[in-house]
Amino acid sequence: MAERIITLCYRKVIDATNTNRWDKFVHEDSFAEFKMQAQFYNQEQKYNTFAELLLNVPAAEKLHFLVGGSVIGYLQQLKNIIPDILDNLGRRFLSFDNFKFELVNSDINSIEKHKIALNFFSKPLIWHDTIGNHLLVSQYHETNDEEVFTNLFQLQPFLSINSIKTIR
């Protein structure tokens, strides 16, 4: 029987309005790292914002990757569990190995303007069914069991199906 294997992406945006302690550590440390790393692409000190750097310094595109190095320790504290996304029983149920850090915007003079996104990519899931606004999924692994344990979760903003493959 054909099965649809999907991975989900959760894009967690963090800016100055986030109050959660983990979010604030990530926000503050990534801002400090941005201020350090941006200097390499701004040696004449002509620019203040990330948007200006991207526009004028092509290599500044690397800052997404470079600034992301500042949050790896916080990702490790998550112990591979994607934060915030709950199943219908109120539990986090998605795990991740893969991740991508994004600088949305920043300003070397203002942490208030610093906004980042953490993209978490889930391990593969089997997409069994769609019930109203909910997807019924299970963790994908080789098994001969007839019965598999499932999670039911609601489609919601900042959560998307990132990839899909059909296997027979």
């Binding site: 992406c9 959660n20 302690r21 983990w22 550590f25 440390d29 400090a32 790292e33 201020k35 350090m36 200097q39 390499f40 040696q43 595109e61 690397k62 997404h64 990757f65 470079l66 992301g68 190095g69 500042s70 790896i72 320790g73 916080y74 990702l75 490790q76 504290q77 934060p83 915030d84 709950l86 199943d87 219908n88 029983l89 109120g90 539990r91 986090r92 190995d97 893969n98 991740f99 991508k100 993209n119 990519f121 609601q154 990132n162």
Partner: protein, 232 residues
Amino acid sequence: MIGAISTPVIIDACKKSSISDGSSSGSGSAGTTASTNGTCAVAPTETEGPFPTKAPASYVRSDITDGKTGYKLTAKITIGNINNNCSALSGAIVDIWHCDAEGNYSEYGGTGMQSTNYQSVHFLRGRQTTDTNGLVTFTSIFPGWYSGRATHIHVHVYNAAGTSLNVTQIAFPEGAGTALALVNGYNKGMAGYTYNNADNIFSDDKTGIEIATVTGTLAAGFELTFKVNVKA
């Protein structure tokens, strides 16, 4: 890290009717809290995790190898302060980065939803703070090379507050018997290699100030020493 939240409760007016003794006293009062019970959001109910703790950037490590294969290289970089007769500058932050044996840097594409395993993605990048001798030490591999450039290590020196003091590159000694010759470009060999005097960064260095001292053997590994003088 999700704590339990309490569900708001509808407070109803409550009347006690007491027929037997004739007194009637109510209790409570009509509440105004609206129920959110039954709306779309699922209440998070999980054991609250341990508090997050401050974590240094993943660059802060002395061993930057990250499992990359190559001949061992210990890099000892000393920072001097030009404003103090080039004596040791302590407390300076030093970032280094270089390519792997194949000539590739750790840096994935900025576009699209390309993702990588977050634990191993910043290979061959490190950050240390200078001690009282102005010294930082990194354990790495001897860099490979890529077309158009001589073998090099990037260095960025900041003061303790993170303000950039110097951006520079370390060049390697060339010629028979040098580490560069012994490593021989790993699997690539040296065909098409750009030597220091043709390199667009190093070719103007006539005195060799940008060239490190490198000693050692393939078997035991190499040691590199280099001094960077900055205006602090």
